[in-house]
């Protein structure tokens, strides 16, 4: 079992694959992020299929990287005879040409002497690892499962047989390119390897041009660009939905039960993405997220769903895949997500705040958008007194989460700010003002524990909650006030998991057996909070420590084992990458306000 951080992300903004440093593609869902896996050995064991291209004998990894600011992954192995390089990626731009929606390209090339390699192509579809009906079309291998078909083309290489490792020789003059294309409910379109390689190269240039549009003064720009690129790769282009992660059931504790399906879109993540993209200079992506949010939530308005499918539907019921052994024996492997039915008050605050960021940046809202947002504010105004499941989606009784109340306050406050430039009736404005002030007063009174010198996880609780690190950002209290700084310090101290890592709440207090790792977005939120409270040096140090904990390819899972430093949870995780960008933006803004002192 490879460590989670060993995997690199390949993607085309419609689906994604995970490829390990031993050349094994162990996760690949088709035709979309939330489709069934054809290579699922990451959590499904060997029977779930994989696609491996690797040196045949002894080899060690010399280098592994994304090429420039692109989505093309490259790994070089030293073999006894020469250096073997695997270059791989997916083609994102296929519209307007006779190309399949999914093209995966993998090329082996060698420097020095010829090198021996092998290919193992073993696609197995879905829960029951269905073997394909296999036929050959010329030199191409075609695998079919009803309406789904997949072809494998290869130039100058071996005659591949499904499920059987096949050796071949790569010579310096003749790289060997493998192309996988997928068709779902449409004819299979074959792409020859040379054309596919050129398409990948064109895509690489497009990603570089895209990355060039990101603020050149962004601190820690390389990490921020990789995060933004990862966020874009995890955004489903046909609808604009951001998936939380491309995987299901990578565990929050190895051998544990906290294994969830994240191949859905959370409005909260979309909202955080709006701010991240907009402030990094990517306006189209930011507007795209807001449009998706409003369109996807249309059926449930004014209620904001907790999560949605890529096309805005209610997720299917959560269930476990019985035969799947899980990653590192972490069962159950789940599909679907049971959090969809929860009431979470905080989501509204994120959405209104994102809309305010857009308005504040000079992008007025369409009246339909403003109508929808007013509906959200009205719902918060009428339901803020109710307990909720909170941002962490704990599957127990609802409680009065302080973070949720803060976000309810934020929804009202940002609604009022937007209303300064958008039409609203006087009675409605006055009602919102009254409710906002009432929430503020209640949170100050019931959400703060004077003995701890901190706001708490819920009313009357002694526990802390790292989500409260939003406090310096929202404006309920001055960032330098004793209450805000006390809360930030208390969280830093009492939820510390060692080094820069934080638990999101006291471990083991979610009602599930076992424990979980440190929650990495919280560390970036802490860096952001430190920046907002003027503690620039601490913020930069913390940020740098977190950068050291990235995967070798600059990716982050949701959590990290504080003892071993192993990444845990679904991977790569959009929320962690969005938090990284937000922290970098906070450092940029702090630097701008205090003069140049640091440049990452």
């Amino acid at each position: 079992m490879r460590p989670i951080a060993d995997y690199g992300l390949l993607g085309d903004t419609r689906t994604a694959a995970l490829s390990s440093s031993d050349g094994s593609l162990d996760w690949f869902c088709v035709p979309r992020f939330d489709g069934e896996p054809v290579f699922g050995s990451l959590v499904g064991g060997a029977a779930a299929g994989r696609f491996r291209l690797a040196p045949a004998g002894e080899a060690s990894v010399v280098e592994r990287r994304y090429r420039g600011n692109s989505a093309t992954l490259e790994i070089t192995w030293a073999t006894p005879r020469g250096r073997l390089t695997l270059t791989e990626g997916m083609v994102a731009e296929v519209a307007g040409r006779l190309l399949p929606a999914t093209i995966l390209v993998r090329r082996l090339s060698v420097e020095g002497a010829p090198a021996e390699a092998f290919v193992e192509f073993d696609p197995r579809l879905g829960e029951h690892h269905a073997a394909p009906r296999v036929r050959r079309r010329g030199e191409d291998l075609v695998c079919e499962w009803g309406a789904l078909a997949m072809s494998l083309s290869c130039d100058a290489g071996p005659v591949v047989e499904v499920g059987r490792p096949t050796p071949f020789t790569v010579t310096p003059a003749r790289p060997v390119t493998f192309v996988v294309t997928v068709a779902h409910r449409e004819p299979l379109i074959h792409v020859d390897p040379a054309t596919a390689w050129n398409l990948l190269a064109e895509d690489e240039e497009r990603w570089r041009a895209w990355a060039a549009g990101i603020d050149p003064d962004m601190p820690f720009r390389e990490a921020a660009v990789r995060s933004l690129l990862t966020l874009r790769l995890l955004t489903y282009s046909p609808s604009g939905a951001p998936v939380a992660a491309p995987t299901t059931s990578l565990p929050e504790q190895c051998g544990g039960v906290r294994n969830w399906d994240y191949r859905y879109a959370w409005p909260r993540d979309a909202s955080i993405g709006i701010a991240a993209f907009l402030q990094a200079g990517l306006v189209d992506e930011a507007r795209g997220f807001l449009w998706w949010l409003l369109h996807a939530s249309r059926l449930q308005r004014p209620r904001l769903p907790v999560l949605l499918t890529l096309h805005g539907r209610y997720p299917s019921a959560e269930r476990s895949l019985r035969e799947w052994p899980g990653y590192a024996a972490s069962v159950p492997v789940r599909v679907g997500n049971g959090a969809a039915g929860q009431h979470q008050l905080d989501g509204y605050g994120w959405v209104l705040d994102a809309a305010w960021v857009l308005v504040n940046a000079g992008h007025p809202l369409y009246s339909e958008t403003w109508r929808a947002l007013r509906g959200f504010v009205e719902l918060v105004a009428s339901r803020w007194t109710e307990p909720d499941a909170g941002i962490w989606e704990i599957r127990g009784d609802a409680v009065h989460h302080v973070h949720s109340k803060l976000m309810a306050w934020l929804a009202l406050d940002r609604g009022l700010r937007i209303a300064q430039t958008h039409r609203i009736s006087v009675p409605q404005r006055e009602r919102w003002l009254a409710v906002r002030d009432a929430i503020g007063a209640e949170v100050r009174e019931r959400g703060f524990n004077a003995d701890l010198g901190s706001y708490t996880r819920s009313y009357g609780s002694q526990d802390l909650d790292a989500a409260l690190l939003v406090l310096p950002l929202i404006g309920l209290e001055a960032p330098h006030s004793a209450r805000v700084r006390g809360t930030v310090e208390a969280i830093r101290e009492r939820l510390s998991a060692g080094g820069p890592l934080l638990y999101r709440y006291p471990p083991g207090s979610d009602g599930l057996p076992g424990t979980e790792g440190a929650f990495m977005p919280c560390s970036f939120w802490l860096a952001q909070a430190l920046a907002f409270t003027g503690q620039q040096r601490e913020a930069v140090e913390l940020f740098e420590e977190m950068l050291e904990r990235a995967s070798p390819l600059g990716l982050y899972a949701e959590e990290m084992d504080p003892t071993t430093g192993a990444h845990l949870g679904n991977y790569p995780q959009a929320l962690t990458h969005a938090a990284l960008v937000q922290a970098a933006l906070a450092l940029r803004d702090l630097r701008a306000s205090s003069g140049p002192s640091h440049r990452g």
């Binding site: 903004t13 519209a95 609808s239 449009w291 059926l299 449930q300 096309h311 539907r313 339909e368």
Partner: protein, 158 residues
């Protein structure tokens, strides 16, 4: 052909169809917003698009009503059930032919092959427009039945 009936009742039936669709949309049964989908052919502002789309939809409704009137004239009978049958045929064509090909025509509608360069913001309807909500086919069938039955009752068979 009942030209006078076509001119008047085509508009009435299209308005009724639009009313059913809009009611279903407001009731949270579907995200299919025909005036928005059609109007965004000409503008990206959703509010202006709805107005433009309503006009386009009325025009399209008139064209379809012409087909209904022609069938009634050919069969020398116009009844509510015949209108309903034509409505079923109409909705089958709309859901299985017209909406699926729309991403190829619509400048602001993405297709399932859209990539990062796409600036299209309307998501594709998908099979039977299910991407706009699982009840969308049922709502569309009901709306077109209303349209067909209205024309069957109101148009003359001449």
């Amino acid at each position: 052909m009942d030209w006078a009936g076509w001119a008047v009742f085509g508009l009435v039936a299209t308005a009724a169809l639009t009313a059913v669709m809009t009611t279903a949309q407001l009731a949270g049964l579907t995200r299919l917003d025909l005036p928005l989908v059609l109007g965004t052919l000409v503008t990206e502002d959703p509010d202006r698009a709805r107005l433009a789309g309503f006009v386009i939809h009325l025009g399209a409704g008139q064209i379809f009503a012409l087909g209904y009137a022609a069938v009634f004239a050919l069969l020398h009978r116009a009844t509510w059930w015949l209108g309903g049958l034509l409505g079923l045929l109409h909705v089958a064509v709309a859901l299985m032919v017209l909406l699926p090909v729309l991403p190829g025509l619509h400048p602001r509608m993405a297709s399932h092959r859209a990539g990062p360069a796409s600036r299209a913001v309307l998501e594709p309807p998908g099979l039977l427009a299910l991407n706009y909500g699982i009840q969308t086919p049922a709502v569309a069938v009901l709306a077109h039945l209303v349209y067909g039955v209205a024309l069957g009752l109101l148009l003359q068979a001449r």
